[in-house]
Symmetry: D2
């Protein structure tokens, strides 16, 4: 696997941070505006701009036409980040299928926290993506279990998150390609909190820390993980190619 950004120096990376934006619009919880005055997507985008100055980072939300994910946006996106929670079922199926085709063709996808239940994540993985949870603002420790992985580069071990919603096993996902982080919570639960998948030509990274009720996306170590994930998920080239049926004539390779 590769931080394929390296061969892309001629032009900036194009990164799109998608957030449903419903918690922010509904002021739910009431103090979300103090915590995330530019929305969670704003905080995530700010972290990426700080750590990946070569990237061109934009944001998109559910309320925009086509949820801000029209074909022209996806065609130039190298990596899409996805935060959703309250409105998974309001995401249009046609947009989900469009995103899926781009991922299979090579666009990177970073799914965050409650995005585990999003249509795009469950559609790409095929399982329920169910998990155990409890929201009491308890301490999460994020441990690196694959230190050679580029997503773990420069990340303290563990990352200490003072307050976070608990996500626990059993997490109903297919076996990941790589298990990068395992979290523990004050209650004693564990969770595979950083996992990677390849689907088609696309790379997918799921990272669980981050929530509308806690300032986790302002934490520099969390921003580092997300930026590492973006670099890792960047495709080699923009020529998206969804695998397709081919029917080679026998004489191409037969004989010796």
């Amino acid at each position: 696997m590769s931080d394929r950004a390296q061969d892309r120096v001629q032009r900036p990376l194009h990164v799109v941070v998608w957030n449903e934006g419903v918690h922010e619009a509904n002021q739910d919880p009431p103090d979300i505006g103090e915590r995330y005055p530019d929305g969670m997507h704003g905080a995530i985008a700010a972290g990426l701009r700080r750590l990946l100055p070569e990237a061109e980072v934009s944001t998109a939300t559910l309320a925009e036409p086509e949820h801000g994910l029209g074909s022209s946006v996806l065609e130039r996106a190298d990596v899409l980040l996805w935060w959703g929670h309250a409105a998974h079922d309001r995401v249009d199926d046609a947009v989900v299928e469009r995103v899926r085709q781009h991922v299979l063709g090579g666009m990177g996808l970073i799914v965050l926290h409650s995005g585990h239940y999003s249509k795009i994540f469950t559609r790409l993985l095929g399982t329920t993506c169910s998990l155990a949870w409890r929201n009491e603002g308890e301490r999460e420790l994020v441990w690196t279990v694959k230190p050679s992985h580029p997503i773990a580069r420069g990340v303290p071990n563990p990352i200490v998150i003072p307050q976070q919603e608990m996500y626990g096993e059993f997490f109903d996902i297919p076996d990941p390609d790589d298990l990068v982080f395992i979290s523990s919570f004050a209650g004693g639960e564990v969770f595979r909190s950083g996992v990677t998948f390849t689907r088609g030509r696309g790379r997918i990274f799921y990272f669980s820390p981050g929530d509308q009720e806690y300032p986790v996306y302002h934490q520099p170590e969390v921003q580092q993980v997300i930026a590492n994930g973006v670099r890792w998920a960047t495709p080699d080239d923009l020529a998206r190619r969804v695998p397709d049926v081919s029917n080679p004539p026998r004489e191409w390779f037969a004989g010796s």
Copy 2:
């Protein structure tokens, strides 16, 4: 992983062989009735009855009400086999979702040959499941690359299939849990022809040999692989449990 059939001696295994049955109904190709007088599902079921005398093997086809896959059928099925080709799009979405829930809850699934493009397989895997192909009746060699796997038990290495449709890489699937067989074809192509996946609590085995134009399902070695697959995919128990949200109180485990 386990041939979980072992704990089930009290009652027979329940195995359902599903075939769309369209090639048979349409006499396409014209000689299919000579090759498979009881349909491909009949030949597959006969092999299972021979090799798994403890199993109760039934068949089901597209033309039946609910495609023969009503809730009562699936609730008692340990393992479902799936052959489809000409009519993937005529399989009802509600039936596909019902099958998927049963697989996630623990029912085994064996997907055969052109079933790689079925709704149930692509829905569970999330990718296109595309591949290269060529139908010129060429020799296929099926090599065992994981001899310790129970699906390879008692299987000659290689299995020689005199005539078969070529399926070649790139096969657009997620990395399998286990790669059991790799095939080569007379034209020189290779294919990951025997691969396993776990999704939820269910085990999935894909095996590519077998086609409406060739008598592959009568071949004893092929029948052995399929029977091994059924044993391997059999769940421990019939209490199907799709993973579900749980919300444990903190005091259950906290403290030391």
Copy 3:
């Protein structure tokens, strides 16, 4: 993968529990004799006899000639369990190589707790098998993260171990075939406490709970995991075959 014991009903399973026996011989810690009057191997063997009545369970220790692992013992063993700590370097290299050949040929191997640093485990895995540790008798919770795996069968989730030595990440092992259990400790650390590997034709299960200072091997849930591991690691047959060079003539398969 398979609980391959199923095809072996004609004769009992042969299981050998190896313990270096040095802590017991040295009464280190002084109360070990109260905790394990028959040694840790005695407690482990008792659990296996209770849960696997079809098995013939014997024990062996470092002090015996050839450490109790002569050729005749290994040739009839289906599964070997290994507990070592204080005397890894006193295990004879020739015995280690003999055990390794048997594992590669198909004998199952269960490595327990401080056996992570044994010659046989590090030789089979190739890495340092280093880990973080702290011995303050803190609570360990053992969570199942692959509920479909036969080693997790009938195991409560989590297993609560009141007092145990902490083993923490980074655990320097190759990526396991299957990650079955993850533990958390009262201090907040996490550990991949139940992992499987295939090497050659042999199956290997590492399980970390258990220590000379705590009565963990008397705990029924721990005994259940170990018995499940033995069943899972049992080879299909006793005809041990270490993979060997073969040189097939070209005409065997060439042409179409």
Copy 4:
């Protein structure tokens, strides 16, 4: 995973191509000097210099003191390539252990062709690394089965190698992290010809094409794969850290 070379622009990559050099010294086969006037290591190094102009490529052979692999050489090496065949047993065990420590600490390792039986490869993998073989100069086709992997970047699918020794399954290796290439041979055999492993912090790539009897290492596509492998295996940093015992005080993370 990452082509970690990207963060290393400040200084050249240091790549060492090791070849036992025995075939060349013994003129075995007699025409090897025509095929490889600078030895196989010379041809491999020339390919790397062409494709990785940022790299500083040196060579080393068995006949040199410490086989040319003294501590100062390994300490500055980012990636080591290994070709051996006739003299595996003449490689000094102390040198093998030194190389292994560097790999575990992060140095990349590329093992080529008959190096599958080298002490360093079998020591890192733990298995016999046995395979089937036949030397009749038959055509090999190298198929890409993980097109998103950076080692497959810019590589034709398949690579056609007009004449090569056959290497076939069963290849007794642990399940690889990634299976990048599968080869077929004119005789019909298949082989997992491009596989990756992580051991400790180090990345390992095994690639089977290449032999003293055929001009494979002059083939541009083969050189491309090897150069891709070197980039992929390059560590993030030179601060080699073999994982080591750590003993953290409980109060570091306990409590909530």
